[in-house]
């Protein structure tokens, strides 16, 4: 595998794992907070 494709694959893997998990954390933080709020309201 050439150096370029190796780096590209590494970048894709990092972006799709680390990047995705941080984005999911952000979305879940919003959702979790809303669920907590709803439960408190009830």
């Amino acid at each position: 595998m050439s150096r370029f494709f190796r780096k590209l694959l590494g970048f894709i893997l990092l972006a799709s794992t680390v990047g995705l998990v941080t984005c999911q954390s952000m979305v879940k933080a919003e959702v979790d907070a809303e669920i907590s709020q709803m439960m408190r309201d009830q």
């Binding site: 190796r6 590494g10 970048f11 893997l13 794992t17 990047g19 998990v21 933080a29 979790d32």
Partner: protein, 262 residues
């Protein structure tokens, strides 16, 4: 004589500054920026769990990025670095493992993924780190035994000599006189040439040890002393004495190099 103006903030360019300002390894910082709004949302909505998990994740990613950049900086392929003993810590491997663990923990605790999915995330991140940056290459130059000295002793002597040259070059950057800078660069170039020749053929090590251990240390002391005095205000007599000393040093270094070539 050509005197440079005294701009205190201006620094001569060196490869070291470029090395430390390299953008390699910044990708991790970029990818983890999403955790900052996650922590802020946690604060706004008063969700303690979200604040703790996401801020811990962000901290661990930052630590990984620091380790990674340290590992990348240690890979500079110049001769001095090749002669130095490898670092005790495999920084790049540690960074990759930390990224993998943090990604797995965040996927499980923060993104609420199943444990199997979190493990896949962790393995993906580990593979991504390996493919992007590789792991640490812990190898140094292997030198042959010569003149009763082991290859390791010779490597240590040459690495120490390179360290001294680096200190001389640092002191040279503090001297704001182009003529003296050029002469010191020439002297450092000759010394590096001697080391390169010894690395290629260490049989002259016995003859060169005095040069590497005593001459270079003396030059370091003289140059550092002058650099300190020069910042305060060097009288013309001191400058002349320094120039005479540089003449002597340069001819002694040339002579030493010539002896090694014979």
């Amino acid at each position: 004589m050509e005197q440079l103006p005294l701009f205190k903030s201006a620094k001569a360019f060196s490869g070291d500054s470029l090395r430390y300002s390299s953008v390699r390894g910044l990708l991790l910082h970029l990818l983890t920026l999403g955790l900052i709004p996650a922590v802020i949302i946690g604060f706004i909505k008063g969700h303690v769990g979200s604040i703790l998990i996401n801020s811990a994740g962000f901290g661990l990613y930052c630590l990984s990025a620091m380790l990674l950049r340290k590992g990348l900086a240690a890979e500079n392929p110049n001769r001095q670095h090749r002669l130095q003993a490898p670092s005790r810590w495999p920084f790049k491997l540690l960074a990759a493992l930390l990224v993998a663990v943090t990604t797995g923990l965040l996927a499980f605790f923060s993104a609420h993924q199943a444990i199997e999915v979190a493990v896949i995330y962790a393995l993906g991140a580990l593979l991504g780190m390996y493919l992007s940056y590789g792991f640490d290459q812990r190898q140094t130059v292997k030198l042959a035994d010569a003149q009763g000295y082991s290859g390791e002793e010779i490597r240590q002597t040459l690495a120490a000599a390179f360290e001294t040259i680096k200190t001389i070059e640092q002191a040279n950057r503090k001297i704001l006189n182009r003529e003296l800078n050029q002469r010191l660069n020439t002297i450092c170039g000759i010394a590096e040439g001697v080391i390169a020749e010894l690395e290629a053929d260490p049989r002259g090590i016995r003859r060169a040890r005095k040069f590497l251990n005593i001459y270079l240390d003396s030059v370091q002391q003289v140059v550092e002393g002058y650099a300190k005095t020069h910042i305060q205000a060097a009288p013309a007599e001191l400058e002349q004495n320094f120039k005479t000393a540089l003449d002597t040093i340069e001819s002694a270094f040339q002579e030493q190099r010539q002896k090694l070539l014979e």
